[in-house]
Symmetry: D2
Subunit: 158 residues, 4 copies
């Protein structure tokens, strides 16, 4: 049976503190026995992949481009889509839940698509949005990698 | 040569005031000679389509499903993708600029994808987001349909 | 209501005879009041687009790349997907029927996807395939543009 | 580094002989240390997945629908795309090479997309096609699973 998969989304460029958070999130996902899914590129994606791979986890990279060699060094299963930014939707559809670490506009698109399709999302130092009527987005925000991962697995019923 | 196209994005359900705004936006886009692109469904998409069609404009609907008959009555060119929410990215890639009218999570995904890919976006009573570092998203917000459309065409250099 | 759309698929490079066939097919589709859909590029796509546009028809180009300026000169509605060859499936899903003029492997993929999804297909000097059990593919082959277009509109019940 | 991946494509319904061939192909791919990629459904996809999984291989299923639970029992990594038949292109883009076992129109679309994008393809009791000019398609056809897999790995330089 297909294993549970959790996506970590975030920017292709990030500072060392954010990379450390992402790596820790990746490690914790692997230790819970879930597959890590990312966009397979640099920055947060690479840090999370390194964390999961080093902990013995399985890392899937769903790439924007068509060349599998563009995946970061920790990706074991590369899915080179050639679909550009439309691949963001595949990252979301392939995961049972999403953890957003900091991030830019691409990350926000993934948060929004996950919410649109009813996938659990937890933010870690990420975007906060106000709906058109001024109400909060109700996005769950965690303070630590451990809290983010615990929350996601609780939502997944595991 | 391919005509300029502007996307209007928003929710599949909306109140009468929002529909009136969307319809006015559609009408103004048509009067400027641009093609209107929407997701081809109900709510804001239908209101904008009606406004553009009634003003003699060309209306394109990029549908989530595979059945062209699901397009609203004002769509002249139906693009039934069968791609579900991944079609949101096609709405953005097909437009030179995007006007977001109110909206839910799907709309936010379209705003974010447009910003990610460098497309001009103007909001009309839509989401407001704060980046991870707390800074504003710098999304241009308009108060009226006329201001939104004027702003978009100025950004398009027309 | 969305207008009927017919796709013309074929290679991005073709000889003058094939271009003349494609142009005639495009013209006849336009004269029947249907929208022409192609991949928006050169060769058969451009010839069909020219034929339809010159006859006053509406031409939609569903592009592999993300730049609308890559559409040929006769495309009025450009849908730049940025999806590469995956856009072949969108050409098929957007059309009520497909006419294949000569063609290379990309064309064969479109013929196959159309048959897979139950869309009528007519070939004009195109691929002929034998199923694994050796039986013919039962693909309707026409000898002239007029016969191809007549056949497609009959299948569409028009 | 991302592992080598080979796709096995074929119909969702097949007879016992074809299933036995597909299962053997899956087993041999796993024994060569490559990832198996299929559409994750029934028939040839399931038989190949069973063969690879039983031999200790890693099985990826790129699904037409959005529900990971639709994957067959041998899929370890499910990529539920929600893209319908457009996911055929992702199966091809994700693999370094393609082995086609018998098959229907969907399989032919995958053969054609693989050839279009320059991926090695080997057929095993599959379609045979004649180009518009009457020439053969030059598709390599193998007589046995062993020959098919040997050929593919030779083309991959392994």
């Amino acid at each position: 049976m297909a294993r549970v998969a959790v996506a970590v989304v975030g920017s292709g460029e990030c500072d060392a503190d954010t990379a450390a958070l992402a790596s820790e999130v990746g490690r914790l996902i692997a230790e819970r026995g879930a597959i890590l899914i990312t966009g397979g590129s640099t920055g947060v994606m690479e840090a999370a992949s390194r964390g999961a791979h080093t902990a013995g986890g399985l890392v899937v990279g769903i790439l924007a481009g068509a060349d599998p060699a563009a995946a970061n060094a920790w990706v074991e299963v590369a899915i080179p889509t050639g679909m550009g930014q439309l691949r963001n939707g595949l990252i979301v559809s392939s995961a049972g839940a999403v953890i957003a670490v900091a991030g830019e506009w691409g990350t926000l698109s993934e948060i929004a698509l996950a919410r649109k399709t009813g996938k659990p999302v937890v933010g870690l130092h990420t975007w906060r949005c106000a709906r058109p009527d001024g109400e909060s987005d109700d996005l769950v925000q965690a303070d630590t990698p451990q809290a983010a991962v615990d929350h996601v697995f609780a939502l997944l019923g595991r």
